[in-house]
């Protein structure tokens, strides 16, 4: 048994940590969030230079041969900085799918753009009616000669306003919620018939409603087969869970540190409010929630490469833990900061908002409790 990080992973953490500290303090972050585009292409380019975009991929694919633990280290540090640049959708979700399941030709055509920072990707899988069930797919893909024609709408697609490429789930056969018959397609966002309604989200990110109207794609746009589409997608979402668990650790740690510091310095009735036992115990509870989340995050990221059942149980279990812990820590951090915690000026509320989105992202506590029970 060994919970220590390798030397490379420690170096990676130090590198990301100092990059975030030097380039992504809270004011810089808010400037980026409030800018026209809502992200910084310059920062994204620096991610590429630092090798972050290549970190999890194998050497054959031009990567640095890392894995889920490296992603975990990176996401935790990006979480501390509330970084909005689309590491999760581009590298973890879409890059992950391409590296594990795309054909050599598809990999050759698409991975260099991701690793080099030229291309941003979004995973378009949820639909207005699908809630958290990735098998609930109405978007259709009909064979048309050598290729396919896509029709349908995808909902709240994170990072889609920035993306030039999408991976889209679409039904090729069967009924609305059938597990078989779902294909994953690589779609260039500039293809005729793709339209987006872009908007900001609660957590300072951007998302789109993406509509496909008779969108023609070639035959080699399909990743894997219609029989494996859902399992490829579910595996990617579980990797996404491993990554946002780590990201949430960054948020919780930042909130706990800020809250303890605030309670040590904020004076009422002539003493620091941190001297009140009722508040001390509250901060102890926040600390314990964080520690339990760390444990579940390590657990899930070690189990992502195990068999399907074990992977599902691990990721749903971890998602329940961080859903509950993130909510508790976020709400209490605001409460203990009093009125100040309610203001846009402090970072506290922004961590709280990102944690609130994470609670829902890839399925909320109720969804994953059920999935855990049935896995």
């Amino acid at each position: 048994m060994d919970f220590s990080f390798t030397e490379e992973q420690t170096l990676l953490r130090n590198m990301v940590q100092s990059f975030v500290q030097d380039n992504y303090d809270f004011d810089s972050r808010m400037k980026i969030v409030r800018s026209e585009e809502g992200m910084s292409r310059e920062i994204w380019g620096q991610f590429a230079e630092l090798g972050l975009l290549a970190a999890p991929f194998s050497e054959e694919l031009g990567g640095l041969d890392g894995g889920p633990i490296d992603i975990m280290v990176i996401m935790e540090e990006l979480g501390r900085g509330l970084v909005v640049e689309p590491y999760l959708p581009t590298v973890v979700l879409c890059g992950g799918i391409l590296s594990r399941h795309a054909s050599p030709a598809q990999q050759e055509a698409n991975l260099p753009g991701i690793l080099g920072g030229e291309s941003i990707w979004a995973l378009a899988y949820s639909e207005p009616q699908s809630r958290f069930n990735p098998a609930d797919v109405l978007t259709s893909a009909k064979a048309d000669g050598e290729g396919y024609v896509l029709n349908g709408t995808k909902a709240v697609v994170a990072a889609a306003p920035w993306a030039d490429k999408l991976i889209v789930s679409a039904r090729m056969s069967g009924e609305q919620r059938d597990h078989n018959g779902i294909g994953l397609f690589i779609v260039d966002k500039s293809t005729a018939g793709v339209s987006t309604q872009d908007y900001p989200t609660v957590d300072g990110n951007r998302a789109s409603e993406v509509t496909f109207e008779n969108v023609a794609v070639s035959g080699d746009a399909l990743i894997g087969s219609p029989d494996t589409g859902l399992s490829i997608l579910e595996e990617a979402l579980d990797h996404g869970i491993g990554a946002i668990c780590a990201e949430s650790l960054g948020h919780m740690k930042s909130l706990n540190d800020a809250t303890v510091e605030y309670c040590k310095t904020r004076k009422q009735f002539g003493v620091p409010i941190g001297s009140f036992q009722v508040l001390q115990h509250r901060m102890v509870d926040m600390f314990m929630e964080y520690e339990q989340s760390v444990s579940m995050t390590y657990m899930v990221n070690m189990k992502l490469s195990e068999g399907e059942d074990e992977r599902k149980k691990a990721s749903s279990g971890a998602k329940v833990q961080i859903g509950k812990s993130g909510r508790f820590v976020g709400q209490e951090a605001v409460q203990l900061h009093g009125g100040m915690g309610m203001t846009e000026e402090l970072s506290v509320g922004h961590y709280f908002k990102r944690l609130t989105v994470i609670d829902t992202q890839f399925g909320n506590v109720d969804h994953h409790l059920k999935r855990f029970a049935s896995a």
Partner: protein
Amino acid sequence: MDVDFTNEDQAFRAEARKFIEENYPKHLIGADRGDLSKEDFLAWHKILAEKGWVAPSWPEEFGGTGWSVTQKYIWNEESAAFGTIPPLPFGVAMLGPVIYTFGNQAQKDWVLPGIKSGETWWCQGYSEPGAGSDLAGLKTRAVRDGDDYIVNGHKIWTTLAQHADWMFCLVRTGTEGKPQAGISFLLIDMNTPGITVRPIITIDGGHEVNEVFLEDVRVPAEHLVGEEDKGWTIAKFLLGNERSGIAGVARSKKAIDRLREIARGELEDGAPLLESASFARKISELEIDLTALEYTELRTLASESKGQGPGPESSILKIKGTEIQQRITELTMEAVGNYASPWVPQLDRGDNYLSIGPDHAEGVSQTYFNTRKTSIYGGSNEIQRNIIAKMVLGL
């Protein structure tokens, strides 16, 4: 023991409901607080003023309605059930009672009519950056200079000060003895030179609260309410009034109805979310807690009718009421699933703004974030628990 209302009470309820239905401004039905203009806030207030129902709890000689405690409760319940924008609390619920209890004749004559008509918009200058839960630690100084006070200081969390004509303000006139001594209650014209109002944007993206800076603000001494250095009694009296009605039972009932409506429209694997056992259970738990709170409030009301004023028990209503409000907003946000994420604050919307996702998802996350304030303001829930520990349990 029974919880039935008398026939007279029932008749009053019917009359109240009819009046609201027939007279409430149509364009404000279901309006979101964040969208309201100054005129919107005052529209219903002015209709009630005309009817003579704007300040039911005031003594009749000052324009109250003479309703019984039960009738006032019924009125609040009907108003909440309809979802009215209640008259602004700063004048009617807070300052009015202070003026007719502690003010001199001249103050009664000019302050009370302006509150009732809605002509004067008041804001509350209580909290300061260093004086929140510990209100008596306030530092804003008022120094006597001939017939005036010169006021210097910094108030914060001043709700809707951006619309205010006047502010009632706690200031420090003396520095001797305990911090509670040496506080005075002053009325300040917001148009006086030296006052700056700076907006505070909250995490829901709204602009409700402000900072108010006072720099050499000259206030005529005739605007002192009560005696100099004796303002703490008035401050406490006002806070007692602020807490009544904070349980918000009727408004929470309405919010639960809306939650159920949303859960009926949201689908989980093709079936209404409302039919999900785990979700339905959470709504039921909320409803049961709300029923307990309703009966606790009715018990308070019954003893009030017998002349026993609301004591420290009203802290229970504040704590439980706000916790329930927060859980409702949390569950409503949960109900809308992925569509809780889109975020276009009111302030950022252009004329061509198109809503995203189902209409019922609109604003639910803003409401969730906004409602986090309720366990902080009006005496934080930690302070309320201290009150119960000390005053009720004698600890």
